[in-house]
Amino acid sequence: MKENAELLKRELPGKKVPGKVRIRCRYKNLVDFAKVFGFTDQKYVGPEEDGVVACKAFANHFTIKALYKLLLGMKIEQDGKKRSFILNPGKLLHAGNKYNWKDCVDIKNGDTLKVTAEWGNVWLVEKNMILFAELLVTAKNQNGELVCKPTVTAAVRPGGY
């Protein structure tokens, strides 16, 4: 187990996660999301013809897609064989989350987002053998403008890496 952790600590930091996720931001999805959190302002839940923008929590939507599609699908090479980064998705926990919106534009109804990711720090807490890994996500709209930079901290319990 420690050998696996050492491999991931050595191999992952700075490495791009292959692939990208495309998110179409439909009116209904933006409004449904805002309504969960009780927004009533027309900016978030107004009529479609007036145009709406996503509430900040909408970043959860593409962060989770990135986590599921990019991270769970990623393969690494160990002892000459390809293996999944996560050996058991049931051992994966979401330990921390950072959203940065500096120099970002709003997400609007009709936008198509492109979400990519690379690995940040990876470390092992030997006391409980939980492996922590940072996923640095970038989300841009169809014009190449940044809409959010999420950093996800994933915790993988023993048996999962």
Partner: protein, 182 residues
Amino acid sequence: MVEIADIEIGQVIRDEFDDITRDLLKDYANASGDTNPIHTRDDIAIKSGLKGVIAHGLFSLGFITKLFEDFLDHENDGKLIEIDVDMVGMVRCGDTLVTEGKVTKIGGNMVYLDIVQRTITPIHIKDSNGNIIEQFEAGERGYISEKDRERNLVHEKEVDKGILTYRDRVATKGSAIIQLNN
């Protein structure tokens, strides 16, 4: 309108939400695409050793971003620049989610805050004879652990019906940065 001149170190921005239900978690699951059944199906959550459904970690985080969007009049008075949190405790149906941002630093038009999000979990209400007259989900399903008691997270207070026993625990903690226009 919120302006930088109105902000003071130590100022607290606060919100309370007490309507976390299974239906709301299903709505969130559908909207977010996070359809892991431990958030929506008790049978699966129980099989995973959780005793009942738990809220998505990012569901709670949404109430932190909303706190600042409301404070900034839906970003007419400024922008939310950054949120950085650790998720340290589970949030469940029946919990009251208390979200607080405390101003720690002001620099130019930037405001830096510490964030703490707590869950107030009702367990039961007893009458003056010590009989349980109302049992809440946390009491029925055994959400409260010995560790919670050892850590002094379980408290009592008088309410209209009797003595309420509840747990007060940190669910999320971290920091935020907002930028005001004026």
